[in-house]
């Protein structure tokens, strides 16, 4: 099981839920697992083969750069954050 932390701005898509649980070996699988319960969130998190527009996903605090196929370890915390760029 993994935990998905939903920021305030996205809780409109989860009926106000801030912490979700899901199953899945990679990000795509986790989002698929969420889809029946939170279809709008799942739709927002995916854009074709990519993570949804303007968003990044972080696993245990590390922003992923390998997209939806990134592996998710058991017990991980997944954060949904806006895209960050560095200088």
């Amino acid at each position: 099981m993994v935990t998905v932390l939903v920021p305030q701005s996205l809780r409109t898509l989860t009926d106000g839920e801030a912490v979700l649980t899901a199953e899945g070996h990679n990000l795509r699988a986790v989002i698929r697992d969420l889809a029946p319960r939170y279809p709008e969130l799942a739709e927002r998190l995916v854009n074709g083969d990519r993570i949804g527009r303007g968003l990044s996903l972080a696993i245990n605090g590390d922003v992923v750069s390998t997209g939806l196929i990134t592996k998710v370890p058991e017990g991980a915390e997944i954060s949904i954050v806006p895209q960050i760029s560095g200088g």
């Binding site: 932390l5 701005s9 954050v81 806006p82 960050i84 560095g86 200088g87």
Partner: protein, 767 residues
Amino acid sequence: MVTAQSQPQSKETEQYNVIGTRPIRHDGVDKVTGAAQYGADLNLPGMLAGRVLRSPHAHARIVSIDTSKAEALDGVKAVITNADFPRAADAEIDTGEGTANLRWVLDNVIASDKVLYKGHAIAAVAATDHHIAEDALELIEVEYEVLSPVLDVRDAMVDGSPLLHDSLHTRELDGSTSDNASNTASHLQFTKGDIEEGFAEADVVIEREFETSMAHQGYIEPHNGTAYWRADGTLDVWTSTQGAFVVRDSVAPLLQLSPSQVKVTPMEIGGGFGGKIPVYLEPLAALLSQKTGRPVKLTMNREEVLLATGPTSGTYMRVRMGAKNDGTITAGEVHLAFEAGAYPGSPVGAGAMCSLAPYDIPNQKIDGYDVVVNKPKTAAYRAPGAPQAEFATESVLNELAEQLGHDPLEMRLKNASVEGNTTAAGMPFGVIGNVECMTAAQESPHWQSELEGPNRGRGVAQGFWFNIGFESSAYAQVNGDGTVPLVLGSTDIGGTRASIAMQLAETLGISSDDVHPHVVDTNSVGYTQVTGGSRTTFAGGWAAYECAMDIRKQMEQRAAQIWECDADDVAYGDDAIVRGPADEDGNERQFSFKELAGQLATSGGHIVGRADVNKTSSGPAFATHIVDVEVDPDTGKVDILRYTAVQDAGTAIHPAYVEGQMQGGVAQGVGMALNEEYFYDDSGDLKNASLLDYRMPTALDLPMIEPIIVEVPNPGHPYGVRGVGEVPIVPPAPAVRAAIANAIGVHMTELPMSPRAILDATVLDES
């Protein structure tokens, strides 16, 4: 005067042979003899010189452009406008560390129907000589319908203010958009706990408003771009960029080419700080080259750099924080409105996530707004968004400590984020050096010293930045003499050839002088992300590590082949000795790296190591800065008397260049704190577009900057590296503000805290 503490304090590095030493950088001799070739130094046979015509208005509709007189001028070979480009698709492209709308990228490169800031490109000319190209600009006739500009972020957010983009609607993070068109491109919000409950628990609550000006990266080398569109349809681009692959992946779709048709060669780069990630001139040079069949070099002058390339956002910010008498912070509320410039994309998201990150505050509410205004499109600038946001939050925290009578470092320690804490954005912290930086600052000679004299004050502030990972590649071959050419895709902006080569050398157990790093074009190395986000030594070093491990494995196999034994029985030691099983006579068999290298050619061929890594565990960076100032109360001028910068580097690969990043970040941060600002008049004309009036610190404006490197190794990197480049620009402004307050009792609310601003807040204050 303070002198540098030149060695890292941690003993961690003693386990290494190369890491932690200070070799001469590999590209050093070229750079002290004038031999290094920067973008503008390129000279190709038959090359034409180009110049760009720019808008004199901040906001106007382009009614017509007549280039005929310019085209008729002797020596002019081509003139282009937006109409000469293929129609850009309404698609997202990868611009380095994020994405951008292709149509907006093209419109920023060269305006289509509207100009959105003074200096917006309108047309480009190629001529036999740059003097002629300049003459030609004066012959281009443009008719404008001048529109009212929007120059202030709060004005821009008001309903009914002039709109930059009729099609822009406010987008929430959840994907919903506003009904009406707006200059507010997006809004995001993070919360944690119950903010009102948090304030109810507080004994003291402080709320402050802040305004900060746009500020420029200020790299000394202006932008440049040279292109040669060959008869076979392939395009060569040479440019000063932080990311050659990003240039390729921007230029190709703008010109509707395949990435395989575009080769980008990164020239030496004269500074970037985030500002040399976007493309400006390269697509123009390419199209001019296509039209003329000759190589075309475009260069900007300084005025163009300041007018039309990415500064960082000006802002309006409001922060409210509450704490108990014992110093526990109970609530933090942050409102950030960031100027994006002419197109959406300010770093407000990062600013929002950084704003309270150093502290474990149970109740938080953070709002961020990305707002377009008639100023140049902002670009990344060293820890984008963090210097502004943390200026606001650190300033309020310092005032809370002052009001409660707490030592500002003690109060920070009491509330510091540690491993396991989660930020309001839902990001948990792993192993971080937040507390370690604060403690090292407390123990520093600077903090332990007394500051005496009238109008003098001391300030302190903390800084946080994420750091990023992403993709990097490395190839290395082993030569017969045991030297190792290393091929990299990362532009070397401040010593990364050395810091990456040192990690390869460490892994192979050889001297860094035996590694010869080279930065090559996009066809000659695997995909490598920008030199930015404090990622290059982290990710490039990791690629070098894996590349070296690949070489080690192949050398074990080769030794086994030579010794005719099982490869599993051969081991490459960290001392660069390859050991095998004893021979039939019981003699130990081993090769030194050089010995085995010498036998490669005759034992089956050479060895090439390669790696392409895509890592995420970049490890956040923290810094604590202490500054002493003296304020002249009659003139409002602030002098920096002493400065100490503490920072967690994870592991300092080349400590001298780590110190250099820290010192350089301080200098930029002090510039932002004291004098650097975009000064516009009401018409949107930037009045200080020169290095005379855009006042970056000179050698006479700074003391020696004492660096203290803390090393809390990043468990997510083979050598514990954390990025170091960005976080040191974060604490200077709030630290200087606190020092000014300590000196003269006035809490400034704007950046820069220029002499004018300080006089207005003191002797000329009429309120």
